[in-house]
Subunit: 340 residues, 2 copies
DNA sequence: CTGAAAGCGCTTACAG
DNA sequence: CTGAAAGCGCTTACAG
């Protein structure tokens, strides 16, 4: 008899819920219920199902499950790059959280291209993800697309004027302004800005310059633009520009701690001391900022707070709660360390 | 009339293929064909469909599509960590390639846990991914699970004895051996090994030690174990151990270039010169290895070759080709730079 | 080149 | 606590 049941599961196709049900002697509906919520099934029945799952080597088809339930248990995460990314800590935290609760992550690499970002958003929507977590600017026509899909859309790291969904981040305009004040208060007179390519970094730069001039910092600061991902290759070029200036800048403000690290290494290799001959500031308070020698003066953004708020919103949305389209300002603070 | 058609698309649910078909005046089968392969549909028909898609704001349901076609157009990528990962370049390359060909990436973070890896593999199989690209060891019972699923399974970065699928990597045993020979040939006598937690790194370490003793390098090398992700925090502790030894080691071999970078920064902060007072070697030839000051002597592994081979296998498998369960050895080579 | 229809493998009211 | 059945939104032989 048991042998006959075995024969009911041909080996040339993946076992289905029905195969499990047949072996367990219940309906596929009951198996489905047990798999999704064991408590609502009688204990003895559950035991038989468990055995059957094991026996036939059942692996649920999440495509079918998602289609039927219209919950994909998948969240899209869109970031520019993987290497030396200021977002790695946040993404890592969220991914682990998500995985722990049975949700998988679709990773999208946008670069700095709005077109690629839009394409990835469309791909995510096609997969009917439960949420999209995005770090970059999106095309104007996407606002309507996102809105109509009713998909939870969360922008992190910045606070756009009129976001199509949630935004969890901080004001880059304010950060640029405060950076200018900080630099001035430390007595530096000739700042040099190494700005990573990207709308936010440029926002900070412009705001820095405006404030610098407003508080009488003097002439317009020098600066340069570098691609992301950002490290030594760019740092070397940027440092060369710094050196070429006469008088040389006395402080370099970088778009990321990785860039700052690169500038420090370059400066020291050139025989300069940091911050004695040249001060350097980072951005983001990545793990390395506190561990480099010298430790890096930077702007701390509470990544774990962002990750936590994102997860909270995703969870509440998953529980059916209506998420208002508001913003959460997690702020930032300048951390003075050795490098500036 | 046209208004009547508009009414056929209620705004309280996402538009389906049928909505598009209705507006275009064709069957949903034709719309499906057009979307998946425009050439097989008459041009005029295609034009009408294009307009209809636009008009109703259609976004295909990839869950339904995947279920019907049993091709999810999704590939799972499993790595230990995101931060300072030796795999970032490879993953970034593959992700961009995949995205360009309409395939999305499911990202899984395994840490060094086999249990988490196995769980992520099951999740990937549940999503009926077209392939799983994995970087770590897997549980023994997974071999059968993977085999029975007939899913393309590709292990990268190493060459296991009896892989459950494809393997594209190199021999860590050989690398450890060659490292020992290299270090000896450079005249170093007191190596110190900073081994990242993980089976491969340990394989290299053991092989290094065996060879070191075989060629009469002398006593057993000192060493320490660090967690991944690996940088300054660990480097600091490791460097402290190095300093404490008397006589002090003359070369430190690190499990990654990031670790090597950390050791170099620590050593220089302590007033030592690299490689004069202490030589340092990395592993992996990450971008930073050639850009640090001093540049880092390391073991180059051709990541773009690995990415390329993976993509080739994935594509061929997607085209219906039968992939043999063999291995591709991409080799490695030691690159002598300034740090050792 | 196109349509009618079966089928992919689940979930979930509905009923008991 | 459990089952029968409809339905999720596509794809794809089959037929014309």
């Amino acid at each position: 008899m048991s042998d006959e049941l075995d024969m009911a599961v041909p080996s040339d196709r993946a076992p289905t819920l029905d195969d499990v049900a047949q072996r367990a002697g219940v309906s596929s509906a009951t198996v489905s219920r047990f798999l999704n919520n064991p408590k609502i099934v009688a204990e003895a029945t559950g035991e038989r199902i468990r055995e059957a799952v094991q026996h036939v080597g059942y692996i649920p088809n999440a495509l079918a499950g998602g289609l039927a339930s219209s919950r994909s248990r998948m969240v899209a995460v869109l970031i520019p790059h993987l290497t030396d990314s200021i977002f790695n800590d946040i993404i890592e935290r969220m991914t682990e959280d998500l995985n722990a609760s049975g949700t998988n992550v679709m990773l999208g690499l946008t670069g700095t291209s709005v077109a690629r970002t839009d394409e990835l958003i469309r791909a995510a929507l096609a997969r009917r993800v439960d949420a999209i977590i995005s770090t970059g600017p999106i095309g104007g026509e996407m606002f309507e697309v996102i809105r109509r899909s009713r998909t939870l859309f969360i922008q992190i790291w910045e606070l756009p004027e009129d976001p199509p969904g949630m935004a969890i981040g901080f004001s880059h305009r304010d950060a640029g302004r405060d950076l200018a004040r900080f630099v001035a208060s430390r007595g530096y007179r000739r700042p040099f800005l190494v700005t990573a390519d990207g709308s936010r970094a440029k926002l900070r730069r412009d705001s820095f310059i405006a404030e610098w001039q407003a508080i009488g910092g003097g002439e317009e600061p020098h600066g340069t633009l570098v691609d992301i991902p950002s490290r030594y290759g760019h740092a070397r070029r940027a440092f060369a520009e710094v050196r070429r200036l006469d008088p040389m800048p006395d402080v370099v403000l970088c778009g990321s701690d990785y860039l700052a690290q690169g500038i420090i290494v370059e400066a020291e290799a050139a025989g300069l001391t940091v911050p004695g001959d040249l001060a350097v500031m980072g951005f983001g308070n990545s793990r390395i900022a506190g561990e480099m020698r010298p430790t890096i003066t930077t702007v701390d953004v509470d990544g774990s707070r962002i990750a936590q708020e994102v997860m909270s919103v995703v969870r509440r949305h998953g529980a059916g709660e209506d998420i208002p389209h508001n913003s959460i300002d997690v702020g930032y603070r300048i951390i003075a360390r050795e490098s500036a």
